[in-house]
Symmetry: C3
Subunit: 343 residues, 3 copies
């Protein structure tokens, strides 16, 4: 596969600085690219690495200087253009429609003729696998589930009964949707299980990372909004609702009945106590501990979560505690020792 730089520019709505006829055969990292490759500087602070690269062409945002001997493909949003170019150069391999002879499809389950079911996959009773969907090797779909059009369950993904996936979802290996919510009524010191009779529902275009756990609701549903992307090893407690187009990084933990608005971003290992609301567009730093509801568009960090600028000042102040302590001692010395209360 090879393209002229001008073709690529047209595809992504950009313009060429330099030779529009340059041939691009591959997309490569700055470190490995050669003269017939296009590469990409992901962060402005790494621009020097771009200039040192052997790449014949570079994808850049506006305002970049053109290094000698290199051609530029200039776009407004280079990360987005890069994503589209990667999809062009690395088209997803089509999965052949059909059910592997070793797959178990239980009574009443319906697999669309244009769906793919891999070896040793199990599709539970009355579940539905829609056109273009793929249930890969050893994935398990419980009873009464729906796998929407074009959605993919990677090997070893598990859906408990009644889980519903919209269109274009992707559930990675080892992710488990619909596990029992962690609910007990403690009576005489014993933890009596509260049956969890709800379900998990993913709207369209949701991605769920490796070994992530999303528990089903005790009564209604745990719901993940359209376009939301969840990384690996994330814990989503029962009855949680997550809005549209959120980003949850690795190892985040949401306690039960958390409600996230749209466009929320939580950094790695962030956590929420349950029964609280996080407003639209909130950005939580890695490992933030959200212990009460947060208004829309706040930027927060710390444990407990506070506004980011205040958190940063607090971090500085903590680093100065030694100095503060010295200064208090000095003041006491100048006043003739500690006061009566202390001594």
């Amino acid at each position: 596969m090879a393209y002229r730089l001008a073709e690529l520019a047209e595809l992504v709505g950009g313009r060429v600085e330099g030779d529009p006829e340059r041939t691009v055969e591959a997309l490569r990292s700055l470190e490995t690219a050669g003269p017939r490759d296009l590469s990409f500087v992901s962060q402005p602070r790494l621009r020097a690495r771009g200039e040192a690269s052997g790449a014949g062409a570079l994808l850049v945002g506006g305002g970049a200087r053109r290094p000698a001997g290199r051609d530029l493909l200039v776009v407004d949003d280079p990360a987005y253009a890069w994503a589209r170019l990667l999809a062009l150069f690395h088209p997803a391999e089509p999965r052949l429609p059909g059910v592997h002879p070793t797959a178990v499809v239980e009574p009443g389950a319906a697999v669309d003729a244009a769906a793919h079911v891999g070896p040793y996959a199990v599709i539970g009773a009355r579940s539905r696998v829609e056109a273009g969907a793929a249930v890969l090797a050893l994935a398990v779909v419980g009873c009464d589930c729906v796998i929407g059009e074009g959605s993919v369950l990677h090997p070893h993904a598990v859906l408990y009964d009644r889980t519903v996936l919209g269109r274009g979802c992707e559930v990675h290996s080892g992710a488990v949707l619909g596990g029992d919510g962690f609910g007990y009524a403690t009576h005489d010191g014993m933890h009596q299980k509260i049956p969890q009779v709800g379900r998990v529902l993913l709207e369209d275009e949701v991605e769920i990372g490796v070994n992530t756990a999303i528990d089903r609701a005790s009564l209604d549903e745990t719901r993940i909004g359209a376009g939301t992307k969840i990384d690996n090893l994330v814990q989503v407690g029962h009855n949680t609702t997550i809005g549209r187009h959120c980003i949850l990084c690795g190892q985040v933990g949401l306690a039960g009945s958390t409600r996230l608005g749209d466009g929320v971003v939580l950094g790695g290992q962030a956590a929420t106590l349950g029964h609280l609301e996080v407003g639209d567009g909130v950005q939580g730093a890695a490992r933030v501990a959200i212990m009460e509801s947060i208004p829309a568009r706040a930027r927060i960090a710390g444990h407990p979560a506070i506004e980011l600028p205040r958190y940063l000042r607090q971090t500085v102040l903590i680093s100065r505690l030694e100095e503060m302590s010295r200064r208090i001692k000095e003041l006491e010395k100048r006043l003739g020792g500690r006061g009566g209360e202390e001594g």
Copy 2:
């Protein structure tokens, strides 16, 4: 299925305020319940939501006011009553006894005639699956394991060799019991694996969440006490012993050789360093970091863990650091600037 309110009251040992003849067809959340449903206010602070609900009947604790047009089912312990009513309305589906023709049962393994083994499950040599137990699709039981009466392995649960489950345990999908403890002897800068020759033992009625990892002991056993409930994505290091009726929330991490007493509760992401003891009834807040042994019944929080009231005061003090810093500066000004030591 429908019951008169009076019947439900009898079952849970409560009393009706209002019409004992009211028909209850389903248990629903406050938001979705209608006149033929019973609903439940899980927390006193949510009582207003109960009054706004369309539920015909409400399950409540003592002292609740009866909203107009609603009937009350009043009990001493509403959460416990709710758990029992859910079990009545949503009985667990029985799993048919028998071994799926695709399951692999290795030589010397014994599956009780009243046990269920699902498709593509693997039961290792000399393992025993007792009456009423279920090894669901694609679960893997190693060699020399015991699955006690009525215990359930959900799809994709894995037991390494020699793991023993008591009666009535539930191991959720992706949980792995008996993995190699993380033990190395570092010699000349290389990490030489210390063979882990112990096992994992679960007493009765233990529940293990999705994708939780419990490592086997290096020599003896990693033991989880009866009635203990462990949430998703929890890490339990080798040689750990956990008492009876403990609760470990999501993403907790216990380092090796931790000893928890009975009735210990640890919030999400809490952690222990190894080789320490946590006394009976200790309650650790979410993300507490337990770095030394803790006496029985302590309530702790923070990193490192301290008594909860002290932790709360400390949190307030940290939030006042800016003010403290200003006050020190002010004192210095009043004394004519910083002392000699500082400049």
Copy 3:
């Protein structure tokens, strides 16, 4: 199996204090050992437990006193000697070469005649399983993978396409290597997936714990150096490189493009922000949050990470905040109340 103590001493290069002819039949913990067993005091501070043990023989480092009636096996590095003795008394069970009849080996895949493939395992197209390697029950190997000589995939391990394992690696149950890196280009508020076209490569003798997730690189490779050991439930983001002989404890999270040098040790739940470098031999305490590059051999702790001694002082200072606050108040009182700024 039984050995004379003198034989064991010869094997591990130690010497006997007491009776070299004592028979040792088993290695047991201090609590369970009897007169025909050898036991081991893992930490010097536990020496009293060694003296209280019923073990006939004790493995110890130099300088230990010989308790009455016990024989000592004295070595320079007792943990290393213990590891070797355990391997002697508990040899790994050999896995028979051959492919289980239920395993699926896709076209173009090559399984060495001296490799073992268990029930319901799946080996993807063009993958290679080398001599002495084992792909256990229900493990899934994608396309174009390599499982090097003697490497083991435990039940339910998953390799995405193009993953390469060197020799002598061990991947535990539920671990997933090669999952999609978490990369999106956000455009008009939607998260557009950036195709992840790189791979994961493990050098020789790497061990990966239960349910750990290691994402493949967006372009090049996520690489784990020889001899590195990774515990359970660890998250390794895409494009990360980890040096040789590192130790990552349970629930560590490395964000994308982290670079760890050789011999790095990170305690449980430690985390890194991405795009930073951690030098050779750095030791990070449990839950350290590494937010910028760290020079070689630093010992760090805290959030954000600082040098360990400074962190320990800071912890003490935080615990004294209440006292500092009182002392400030006292100084103000002695100067006749707070200054004008405060009121």
